[in-house]
């Protein structure tokens, strides 16, 4: 039998359906892989007993012919998703050993469809980070290394655990969340496929909030088809989240292989940054050429407010975060620190519980919302956001079906290499991805090639609101042309 962990989700679904193997076998194979890959630190909580129980249940259903669309498929869950009875920490000390009594809507839909939970995945603390180095559980290793180097690289962030685990064949797919690029950037760093759907497509209920108006759940998987399969189960209207949108969820998988002939692909000139590595430039042109070869039409487009997106994002996101994280006060759950009075108790709990990056963003957010600064920062950033949104609307109004950009300005970097002295250096990682969150649009990152040091690079496709299908169609064209990339196992 071939290594079950190397199958794509679609292949595993077939194998399970024709009884080539059981979910329990598939699950055990992954549990073994997880155990052997602990050095990657991708999982912060392994749930083998639960995984096997869920696998047995899936096997029983498959046997009865009563299998859901993800029956028996072992997945990893970002630790930002509340999982009933399983510790959920957002990788922050302030949540300590918090065990929710409830299950997030997104994960409960995955379990409804038969998926199996292998455990909880590492991420940047409260999803704040682009390298997974801010996690209270320590950094995650990228399964990819530079040619001829033993240095451990970051998998990107904040969904670093999800990307690393999927790339290292520890799970068949993973949930992730994306506030400014947290799905797409780690996907690009690990040669996996990650899609941030349209804001409102997936319920945020039960997902630890970072920045409510930007947060969106999505999958990371090893192929475009796998991502489509996962998103179909994750998406859908939820009355418990009033920002989730009540429109039907299409069969995303049906979009795979659909002709892209005649589609208009926008190439935004503002994404051509000064000093952009030639390799990224080349990758971008190559991607455009593949789409053209598949019958799409390329048009240069302008998104004039792009350069304001990153600074505006780093006002809006911390502002919301500063308020969202106020509930972590050490009073009702999580870390509790004593103090002489209530104020000191808050201060001690939050000083002890939050890491440096979270504190920085809470302080930025508090500052930009303060009386006297609100108009200059928060309000202005919201205006910029409206302009960014309008840039895209104008573009789509001209008949553009999707926009092609690089996913990241560089390939993965080493642990401790960036942001040590200047946090902005780290924030620049999100330069191509934040606009999509600011505009609430869907964006997919698809592996497209490697840089000179053998590290994967990704391309991003940005779509119209709720038109994830077009992204899957186009993403698969790139995937077909670029091929799939698997890291050499070193762990």
């Amino acid at each position: 039998m071939t290594d079950l962990t190397s199958l794509t989700l679609a292949e595993a679904r077939e194998g399970l359906a024709d009884k080539s193997f059981t979910s329990l076998e598939l699950t055990d194979a992954h549990l073994g892989a997880i155990e052997a890959a602990r050095v990657l630190n991708a999982f912060v909580m392994e749930t083998p007993d639960q995984a096997r129980a869920m696998a047995r249940e899936a096997d029983a259903k498959i046997a009865k012919g009563d299998a859901g669309p993800l029956a028996g498929i072992p997945l990893g869950i970002k630790d930002l998703f509340a999982t009933k009875g399983v510790r959920t920490t957002a990788c922050s000390n302030i949540l300590g050993n918090f065990v929710p009594t409830y299950e997030s809507t997104v994960t409960s839909q995955l379990w409804r469809d038969g998926a199996v939970m292998l455990g909880k995945l590492n991420n940047d603390e409260f999803a704040m980070g682009s390298s997974n180095e801010t996690s209270c559980f320590g950094p995650v290793g990228n399964p990819w290394r530079r040619d001829g180097s033993n240095a451990t690289l970051v998998p990107g962030g904040s969904s670093g655990g999800s990307a690393s685990a999927v790339a290292a064949l520890l799970c068949m797919g993973a949930t992730a969340t994306d506030t400014g690029g947290s799905i797409r950037q780690p996907a690009a760093f690990t040669a996996t496929v990650g899609i941030k759907p349209t804001y409102g497509r997936c319920s945020r209920w039960g997902v630890v909030a970072f920045a409510s108006s930007l947060d969106q759940a999505g999958p990371i998987a090893r192929s475009v088809r796998d991502a489509a399969m996962l998103l179909r189960s994750m998406a859908g209207h939820d009355p418990k989240d009033t920002t989730s949108v009540d429109i039907p969820v299409p069969d995303y998988e049906a979009a795979i292989g659909k002709s892209v002939k005649g589609m208009k692909i926008g190439i935004p000139r503002e994404y051509r940054l000064d000093g952009m590595p030639a390799e990224i430039e080349k990758l971008w042109s190559e991607g455009a050429a593949w789409l053209k070869a598949a019958g799409a039409e390329l048009v240069e487009v302008s998104l004039p407010h792009t350069k304001y997106a990153l600074p505006a994002y780093y006002i809006v996101a911390p502002a919301e975060a500063s308020s969202n994280l106020a509930r972590y006060d050490g009073v009702r759950y999580g870390l509790r620190e004593q103090g002489k009075n209530i104020i000191e108790m808050y201060e001690n709990a939050r000083a002890e519980g939050f890491g440096a990056e979270v504190k920085r963003r809470v302080m930025i957010g508090t500052y930009v919302l303060s009386a006297g600064y609100y108009d200059a920062y928060y309000l202005r950033a919201q205006k910029v956001r409206t302009l960014i949104k309008k840039d895209f609307e104008d573009c789509f109004a001209k008949g553009v079906d999707a926009i092609l950009t690089p996913a990241t300005p560089s390939a993965a970097f080493g642990i401790g290499e960036k942001g040590g002295a200047d946090p902005v250096e780290m924030y620049l990682n999100d330069i191509f991805t934040v606009t999509v969150n600011m505009a609430g649009l869907p964006g997919i990152a698809v592996p497209a090639g490697k840089d000179g040091q053998g590290l994967p690079l990704g391309l991003q496709l940005i779509g119209r609101p709720f038109d994830e299908e077009t992204l899957f169609s186009l993403g698969e064209v790139i995937e077909q042309a670029a091929g799939r990339f698997t890291p050499a196992r070193w762990w």
């Binding site: 929710p100 997902v207 502002a319 509930r327 104020i343 009386a371 609100y374």
Partner: protein, 492 residues
């Protein structure tokens, strides 16, 4: 826009005028909280009405309770206010254990209800119109219990997240009497609407009172806010005290510090709670978890069509339909329960048009008078609306006289029973049969020849004869018949 002369305070430098504005926090009558499904029932075990949302568990999201929105719109309509078809929920950020989220969801820049007005009646037929600045929806906070442990504070989150309407008045109130009358009227409107039970003892209605003083008609002074008042009488006392405190400071050459104060009813004084410098920076911003609150004009129109009759309308109707005096009508409509009682009496009357006014007199003078004397509430009146209607019917149809009716009322008050049957069984029926009273009349005239002679010159002394006859008949004789009979017998 006062149409009433208001009270001025005398200071050493002359008269001072008070300028008062109020923020009333009215708990919305609803089964569940503003953004969660937890119960709003009063008096549950601590922390028994707390949902995951109320406890601000990670990843929880608020979902607006539509009934609370309807209640706010109904209230806005009852205040003759502008209803905003689009409003926005904001977060008011502050750390305190009574607010697990670390922020209160409120409405800051765009409230659901805009400007309106309330007509406030005062003694002696005076009235004043108080402008409403806005009404917005917001979450109530939990309760801290400091008396459960010597070293710890306990938190009860049952009230946390319950919907409040904050009703902000314009600074149109000029003295304590107006302030008290304003709260009373507002509370009556809320109760008529069924949007707030108005129970101040349970904390369902609380007022923050802004007070400043100035020379009459002069520029506005610096105001102080007296927080969290939960009694109409205390509001009056606090305003009087606070205004005099401010006048004293100014007349002594001092300045008023803008600050938040608390009223201590035991000492009868206000004291500083926090100064302007200590005021929080709430860092308001639109709550990204909630979409703007939007509804159609049709939604508003439907609520408007279903609105109950409010005190002002009811008063106008009572005056027009039953000839009540404006004063009597205001007394009846002042509390929803009184109006309901009166209207039930009306419904049971045999002849409403004839006896509507008589019924009002009986409800106000006999029933309310008696209830007041015994410190009882209309809702536990021993005399039911049905019994009172029967008594009024008996008077109206001349079966009993007003005097007998008072005796009958006494019997019903103490013993209960069907008034009509009581009149029958106790022989209280009025005698209208002339032959039955003729002998009594003749006897009295015969026994008082001098008075009978005088009456021709002094017709006003006829009353004496009527009284004698009534007395002799045990009050059962019909006064009109007696009157007529006497006139013919005495030849006047």
């Amino acid at each position: 826009m006062s149409t009433a002369t208001h009270k001025l305070l005398k200071g050493a430098t002359g008269d001072w005028e008070m300028v008062i504005g109020m923020e009333i926090h009215a708990q919305v009558t609803s089964n569940s909280k503003l953004f969660s499904g937890a119960s709003t029932a009063f008096g549950g075990e601590p922390n028994s009405h707390v949902s995951l949302v109320d406890a601000a568990m990670p990843g929880m999201l608020p979902v607006i309770n539509e009934e609370c929105v309807r209640q706010a719109v109904r209230t806005g309509l009852g205040l003759n206010a502008k209803i905003n078809l689009r409003s926005v929920f904001d977060r008011k950020n502050y750390f305190y254990p009574d607010s697990p989220q670390g922020y209160q969801i409120s409405q800051y820049k765009s409230p659901v209800v805009g400007e309106g007005e309330v007509l406030v009646e005062l003694d002696g037929g005076r009235s004043v119109t108080v402008g409403i600045e806005r009404l917005h929806l917001e979450q109530d906070a939990g309760k801290l219990l400091h008396d459960q442990s010597p070293s710890m504070t306990y938190v009860d989150l049952n009230r946390c997240g319950v919907a409040l309407m904050e009703i902000v008045s314009k600074p149109d109130i000029r003295d304590a009497e107006q302030a008290k009358a304003y709260v009373t009227k507002l509370r009556a409107i809320l109760r008529y609407l069924g949007t707030c039970d108005g129970d101040m003892e349970k904390g369902s209605l609380r007022a923050d009172v802004n007070v400043s003083v100035r020379k009459p008609g002069g520029p506005l002074g610096t105001r102080c806010e007296i927080k969290n008042m939960n009694s109409i009488n205390f509001i009056g006392q606090a305003i009087e005290y606070e205004a005099r405190r401010q006048i004293e400071i100014i007349e002594d050459g001092g300045e008023i510090d803008q600050e938040t104060r608390l009223y201590d009813p035991n000492k009868g004084e206000t004291r500083s709670m926090r100064s302007k410098e200590e005021a929080h920076d709430y860092r308001y911003f639109p709550d990204p978890d909630l979409l703007p609150l939007e509804f159609s004009q049709q939604f508003v129109d439907e609520l408007k069509a279903d609105l109950p009759e409010l005190p002002d309308q009811k008063k106008t109707r009572f005056v027009a339909d039953f000839g009540l005096s404006a004063y009597d009508a205001s007394v009846l409509v002042a509390e929803r329960e009184s109006a309901v009682f009166y209207e039930t009496v009306l419904d049971r009357l045999a002849n409403r048009a004839r006896d509507g006014k008589l019924a009002a007199n009986w409800v106000i003078n006999e029933l309310f008078g008696r209830l007041n004397k015994e410190g009882r509430d209309i809702t536990d009146s021993p005399v039911t609306s049905e019994q009172l209607a029967a008594i009024v019917d008996l008077i109206g149809e001349s079966t009993i006289s007003g005097k007998i009716a008072k005796d009958l009322f006494e019997i019903v008050w103490h013993e209960g029973g069907d008034p009509r049957a009581l009149v029958e069984s106790r022989g209280m029926k009025q005698v209208t049969d002339l032959s039955a009273i003729e002998k009594v009349v003749d006897d009295i005239i015969a026994a008082n020849p001098d008075k009978a002679a005088q009456v021709k010159d002094k017709p006003q002394s006829l009353g004496w004869f009527v009284g004698q006859v009534m007395k002799a008949s045990g009050g059962k004789a019909n006064p009109q018949s007696v009157n007529d009979l006497l006139k013919s017998k005495l030849g006047i």
